[in-house]
């Protein structure tokens, strides 16, 4: 059967792509609920901060590591950028996809490990969940985000495993990206509110 200029078999209706794959729609709905969840947490923090007696951060509490976390923030943002380029390479069928996806995963992993080390240091300085308003809000907000980063890290590892077996399609890769972009995008807001 002859092919047309686009390489498709003549007379055969081209299969229409869904407007929005089910996986992506499901992930977008989930992310929307997560956005509202984080918005609620941030709002509670903003009101709590403005209501604090003696200013913010409360006196006598350990200082949060602003500069170190700025570096960690850059690593997480770089992870998002690497994932964006991994997607572009995936669309073009480029062999760089694997390398870029691995870079995104490595940077996400670095973020989690770095934050873990930061928490150990802060707990050592006396900042715990029950040490005061700062500690309570800090571990609630940053901890909730860390759980999401860990979940995103596992999702990216899963996509990498599928890619390694030549089994990754964009209907799997796309929802994973939506979640990771959310995780990356919400962090600068948390950093601005909690650390600065």
């Amino acid at each position: 059967m002859p092919d047309d200029a686009l390489g498709r078999a003549f007379g055969v209706p081209a299969r229409r792509e869904p407007v929005l794959p089910n996986g992506v729609l499901g992930m977008l709905i989930f992310v929307a609920t997560e956005v509202m969840f984080f918005s609620g947490l941030i709002s509670a923090f903003v009101i709590g901060k403005s209501n604090a007696v003696g200013g913010w951060p409360p006196p006598g509490q350990p200082r949060l590591p602003v500069e170190e976390t700025a570096f960690n923030t850059a690593a997480l943002l770089a992870s998002g950028v690497a994932l964006y380029f991994a997607n572009r390479a995936f669309k073009n069928g480029s062999p760089n996809t694997k390398r870029l996806l691995l870079l995104a995963i490595a940077l996400g992993g670095f973020f989690v490990v770095f934050q873990g080390a930061e928490w150990v240091a802060l707990i050592g300085e006396g900042l715990t969940l029950t040490s005061g308003q700062l500690g309570g809000f800090f571990y609630l907000l940053v901890g909730t985000h860390a759980v999401h980063v860990a979940a995103g890290f596992i999702i990216l590892l899963y996509t990498y495993s599928k890619l390694s077996h030549d089994d990754l399609d964009r209907f799997t890769f796309w929802p994973a990206q939506v979640f990771w972009y959310f995780v990356v995008g919400v962090w600068p807001i948390l950093y601005w509110q909690v650390y600065l």
Binding site: P2, D4, P13, R16, L20, A32, V35, S39, S50
Partner: protein, 91 residues
């Protein structure tokens, strides 16, 4: 029937008249200006965020549907278009 309606309306007015301010929200009655402002800001924020998300999603979806509608649905051999005569859409 009419008496019952008037009674209900009168009761509602009485409740509204007698009720004092509710102090359930600590921010509403806060003497701190910064706290009151934070309360207003977060209320605006929590109102606008879902509307922006829904609006953004509808806008993106509409754009995507339009782009997909422009894409060809059926592959047609170019020879067919070439031989279809001067009034063919392919020309």
């Amino acid at each position: 029937m009419r008496l019952a309606r008037v009674s209900v309306a009168a009761a509602a007015v009485a409740v509204a008249w007698l009720a004092d301010l509710a102090y359930a929200c600590p921010s509403c009655a806060s003497p701190l200006e910064e706290n009151r402002q934070a309360f207003v800001d977060t209320t605006v924020f929590l109102t606008v965020v879902p509307l922006m998300m829904m609006g953004g999603f509808i806008w993106w979806l509409r754009r995507r549907i339009r782009a997909m509608e422009d894409a060809p649905e059926i592959a047609v051999h170019e020879n067919l278009l070439r031989d279809a005569g001067p009034f063919s859409k392919g020309r």
